[in-house]
């Protein structure tokens, strides 16, 4: 294959990775930004979304698109509910202490993962894409669904941005992020904001998972990679910065796609990790982050 089409394929693959990564990392970043909690169980909310998508789409017969749309609505809501309960039952009792919550979310990670293994099983199960259109390029074929994932992700990112910057809920969230105590003094119900943010963060991961599950299957261990990559993205972009998260996700996704196609996937991971190390050394707050108060 010639260089041009080769690069095009690499960029397309990278874009799909970026799209899903941006949504997942955004959830992680939001939770950290507002609550100052490192949610290690974030990848498991992603997995839970995928597993539920499978369960919902197999329960609904008829055209695959019906099941998929149902999954896209129900799975994130359910995951959000699980996260809401986890926040209420566990994190709130720990007073959002940074160290304790890390340990607690590690515990959640194992509980969710093992429950999935027990009730869903060890198999990788596929979900049929809502449509299967193959875009025929002169050099190779490409999945139309994959491109639609990129579009869907972009739309969701814009919506999140609008909510954060143009609505009252967004204003309250930003206020809580900026200064928790002052926000409380102004009558903002900080605990309710925390519960909501934790649920929304998990829902973003679940939406990303439902979008990706027709491409790669639902499996109970699938949460590990997104968690690691999300951390990389969030560290590079700056914890709590929406813009930084998106830019870093596109950067990591594209470089992963291109480097692993022209060199090797291992090299792509090495470079991503190296970038993280460099960012931590020279700009600990991340590319777009502000120094923690």
């Amino acid at each position: 294959m010639h260089f041009g089409p080769h690069l095009l394929l690499a960029a397309l693959e990278g874009l799909v990775t970026s799209a899903v990564l941006a949504l997942t990392a955004l959830g992680l970043s939001l939770v950290f930004g507002v609550m100052r909690i490192v949610n290690v169980a974030h990848g498991e909310f992603f997995m839970l979304g995928a597993v539920l998508a499978w369960a919902i789409s197999t329960a609904i017969s008829g055209h695959p698109a019906i099941g998929f749309v149902a999954a896209l609505v129900i799975a994130p809501l359910f995951v959000g509910l699980v996260a809401f309960l986890a926040e209420w039952l566990v994190l709130r009792r720990l007073n959002y202490n940074p160290e304790s919550t890390i340990v607690a979310t590690i515990g959640m990670l194992y509980i969710i993962q093992q429950l999935a293994l027990t009730f869903y099983g060890p198999e990788a199960r596929p979900v049929e894409p809502p449509f299967s259109y193959r875009i025929l390029l002169p050099w190779f074929g490409y999945s139309g669904y994959k491109l639609s994932v990129v579009a869907a992700s972009a739309i969701l990112l814009v919506i999140t941005w609008l909510v954060l910057t143009r609505t009252k809920i967004g204003l309250i969230m930003r206020a809580t992020q900026y200064d928790r105590e002052t926000a409380q003094a102004f009558g903002i119900p900080v605990e309710r904001v925390y519960a909501g943010v934790f649920a929304v963060g998990a829902m973003l991961a679940a939406i990303a998972a439902v979008l990706i599950v027709p491409i790669s299957q639902a499996h109970y261990l699938m949460g590990q990679d997104p968690l690691l990559l999300s951390f990389i993205v969030v560290i590079i972009g700056g914890l709590g910065s929406l813009r930084g998260t998106v830019v870093a996700a596109v950067l990591i996704g594209l470089s992963d796609g291109i480097i692993s196609m022209f060199f090797s996937p291992t090299l792509a991971k090495i470079i991503a990790t190296l970038v993280v190390a460099m960012v931590l050394v020279f700009r600990p707050q991340g590319l777009f982050g502000t120094a923690p108060r």
Partner: protein, 434 residues
């Protein structure tokens, strides 16, 4: 440090005659108690305990579940027929998380804590390689059902055996003539980037060369990869056959993306069933495999010429004509590998009875008795087919199936012969000390 209270001064602790007599009486009473009587008979009637190192969690979990089902069925059949040497057989299961480090811990646990007679049942090659030294150190026989070439390479130790499933090197050698004659001469290989994949990387090129065909590209894929399109441009345009071996949960993605990449104008495909074990061949996206060929250890779908033994085995394990669990068509088995558990347990039975095995003190005798085995006839104990066993390399050799995907099923189109897969031994375990 002064010993003020005299805790360590033995001269201060006085042992009266009366106390001593009491102690002796109590000891004698214990020895005569019913519990001890039963214990002294243990060697003749207590069950034989087989430590089952199972992939209950981790990437091998789907295999682990079916390995457990098959082994439980084999143990039931053995016990219903009188057990091993008149003793019942009992499986002690421990999860190794499909992880080599935990695998070694589990072997130690079997040897030291559970004190099982043998260890059995491991599939993933990296777990076998990680656990084998522990089996050697504990001098506990370790019967694996792994398919990799590591046992037969004689790089492990004298306590490791693979008597129930043919190794990859032999499988490849026996199938290469068919690939060269029927699929194509220019082959591109796609394999997982770890031990099991390396067996394919190393043994396919010479085996094809001998048939006048060539491997023109080799593409290694990290085992945790979840997206594959980026590897496909490395497949040379003149490729006539893509030879694919994948393991792990991402194989469906692999096939689907291959389908999107090539569409209908694809090269021939030849795959190892390992790619699709525990996966329904009619899953969305797998239509692309229609007309392609697969290696199968034991056919997933019931074949018209199945032997009575094969039918009985399928019924005992509980799989229907489509190779899925009876009553749950979505629960697809790992038919190409799990028969090895059934057959290995019968080899253990034969070897234990030959050795007059009584307990862990006879483990060395069990090793020698296993090494003395020569062949296993096809029948209820070996439903996959006849096998020969080479005691020097601890490896069995059997027939292989090549199946075609046709109408949503796998139909066996070619069966190899045992001779096709024989090779010169690379070493001799029997020269190692016991």
């Amino acid at each position: 440090m002064a010993d003020k209270n005299g805790f360590f001064d033995l001269s201060k602790t006085t042992l009266s005659r009366r106390t001593a007599l009491k102690g002796i009486a109590a000891g004698a009473g214990l020895a005569l108690a019913p519990g001890f009587v039963r214990y002294s008979q243990a060697q003749s009637s207590a069950p034989i305990r087989i430590g089952f190192q199972s992939h209950r969690t981790g990437i091998g979990a789907a295999y682990g579940r079916w390995y457990e089902k098959t082994s439980a069925a084999a143990v039931k059949a053995i016990n219903d027929a009188g057990g091993i040497g008149g003793r019942k057989v009992e499986l002690v299961i421990e999860d190794d998380g499909t992880d080599p480090a935990r695998g070694a811990e589990v072997v130690n646990k079997f040897a030291k804590q559970h004190k099982t007679d043998i260890v059995f049942g491991t599939l993933f090659s990296h777990v076998v390689i990680g656990s084998a030294p522990a089996a050697g150190e504990n001098k506990i026989p370790y019967f694996v059902v792994s398919e990799g070439h590591h046992v037969a390479s004689t790089k492990l130790n004298r306590y490791v055996f693979q008597p129930g499933i043919t190794d990859v090197k032999s499988q490849i050698q026996s199938m290469a003539p068919w690939i060269a004659a029927n699929a194509g001469k220019k082959v591109t290989q796609i394999f997982p980037d770890f031990a099991f994949g390396y067996d394919h990387r190393d043994y396919l090129p010479p085996a094809l060369k001998a048939q006048g065909a060539d491997v023109i590209a080799q593409i290694a894929i990290p085992p945790t990869e979840s997206s594959f399109t980026k590897y496909f441009p490395q497949i040379p345009a003149e490729t006539e056959v893509i030879y694919h071996v994948m393991v792990g949960p991402a194989v469906l993605t692999f096939v689907k993306e291959l389908g999107e990449f090539y569409g209908s104008q694809r090269p021939q495909l030849f795959g190892f069933m390992d790619s699709l074990e525990a996966t329904d061949i009619n899953s969305p996206g797998l239509e692309f495999l229609d007309g392609s060929h697969f290696w199968e250890g034991s056919p997933r779908y019931a074949q018209p010429d199945d032997s009575a033994a094969q039918k009985a085995y399928r019924a005992a394990v509980g799989i229907d004509d489509n190779g899925a669990a009876v009553g749950d068509p979505k629960d697809v088995s790992t038919a190409s590998h799990m028969f090895g558990c059934w057959e290995t347990l019968y080899v253990v039975k034969k070897a234990m009875e030959d050795a007059g095995y009584k307990g862990p003190e006879d483990r060395a005798k069990l090793v020698e008795a296993t090494e003395a085995l020569k062949e296993f006839a096809e029948g209820p104990e070996h439903p996959q087919g006849p096998k020969t066993f080479n005691g020097k390399i601890h490896q069995c050799f059997g027939i292989q199936n090549i199946s075609k995907v046709e109408g949503g099923k796998l139909k066996v189109v070619h069966k190899t012969k045992i001779e096709d897969g024989l090779y010169e031994p690379e070493g001799d375990y029997t020269k190692q000390a016991l």
